[in-house]
Homo-oligomer: 312 residues x 2
Amino acid sequence: MYHVGIDVGGTNLKAGLVDQDGKILAVERVPLDFHGAEAFAATLADLAQAVLRTGGVDIAQVACVGIGLPGAVAGGDALFITNIPMRDVPLAQLFRKHLDLPVLLGNDADCAAVGEFFCGAGKGTRDLVVVTLGTGIGGGIILDGKLRGGLSSSEAGHLVICHGGEPCNCGRRGCWEQYASATGLIRLTKEAMAEHPESLLHQVAAETGGVEGRTAFQAAERGDETALGVCRNYVEYLADGTVSLINILRPEVVAIGGGVAAAPDELLMEPLREIVSRESFARHGGRTTRILRAELGNDAGIIGAAMLDRVV
Amino acid sequence: MYHVGIDVGGTNLKAGLVDQDGKILAVERVPLDFHGAEAFAATLADLAQAVLRTGGVDIAQVACVGIGLPGAVAGGDALFITNIPMRDVPLAQLFRKHLDLPVLLGNDADCAAVGEFFCGAGKGTRDLVVVTLGTGIGGGIILDGKLRGGLSSSEAGHLVICHGGEPCNCGRRGCWEQYASATGLIRLTKEAMAEHPESLLHQVAAETGGVEGRTAFQAAERGDETALGVCRNYVEYLADGTVSLINILRPEVVAIGGGVAAAPDELLMEPLREIVSRESFARHGGRTTRILRAELGNDAGIIGAAMLDRVV
């Protein structure tokens, strides 16, 4: 049997035909162009059929379609989707009007975790947390082989790490993702640039057409002290939430993914591991959590969506 | 069959004989007087035998002995116990030299959660978090009917909520328990007293022989503005970690226990519920977590220790 995984991103919809081992056999994509939930469901169903044609697989050979969405889902309903005006939409039901297959919905961070669990950094574990550092922070939690919360999503990016700190669009202040997402890193970088006009950060930003998540890492690699300070600060914020998740959940592995995870080891993963090993309660004994880089990159969402039926 | 639950507290050891319904049939207690792990294990075994005698139950009718300890445990080992100098002690094995019964060790906060799960605020749920507000913050997490981490403990008190904040004896800075434990509340109260010499807090503290966790609540009930401010601040800190736990875990119930939980509803539970309902991600849909007061008080530890074998 085959599975179809659909990754609903900020600009594109991508569908993948996935085999039992989590291998992607074919991919189709269309731009995201939202004209209401009914039309959106039809587009998703068309996309699934397109990837089946491309892969030369008959619908009778498909066990399930999984759809990863950037937001909150519960059962077959899309409750609240970031950047797409869908609220409390029975998306699975609408989809099945066009394509009669079992459909599961998942939060995109949860799907990334499922992908890493079966085919990436979490392979062989039972307990995995995947932290995806992008515009926000996605947190996918798998405990004892099951997606935590079933198909309702965890929101690890909305741990408060700075009481009364930066306002977050979730309604709280001081959420982890305000500091440790790519967006947070860009803010830290801009603040440091304003304070340090002599920093190489200005030149690096100018070379790449603006401040990005990687700007601080690039300037730090060239020895800039201000940039090194930004990277250190950033890793401390990243460690705040990481250690908190470890203290609460004690997973076997925390996998760090998303664009920021591409930063050089000595500036990101190594200092992060150092803080985790110094600060996590597990140093008093018990299970020690390994901190790994996520392995699947952008494929994690498709693979994980396709494999949702194994973790619920 | 019966169970024995032993609660190792800061000053006393208490053993309870517990029936299948979680009812305590007999209790025995001795002062904690530590002279090495071997003698400690013998004392625990004596205490278990004493409570069997008191209850008139034969050892053959006992399924299991559970021991709740203030610290980190893993399997049958006491890894790191607060206030008792035991490190990496095979306590279950030492205990069984004196009394040949199955023995399980549990963290005390975990035991409180197990007790509440079967017999208190969590009865009928599958997913429960119990937050115990005492000298520190204990966090016991039950997911899908199993104690999270098995017999290794969760450390929810060591969520960072104030980046770079108050140093914690766990090695981090800004841990939740530095702000939202009874100890944290006393610190907040003293800080407010230093700033407001006119506050009724001074009089209330003098009447009760010093600043306690309840001082702020007592003065607030008498209308003191400074005390009302302390209570509001305190609840905000308490909500920080509570909402974070909800965002990560989405339990059915969070039960608040420990000495501080005795505060008047309108000063503690009501404003806490208000912040949770405003700030938790679940307001976008999905499962809504109920915030309840823990029900079992000091019995939770004994009952939960006795019932450890049902949740691992």
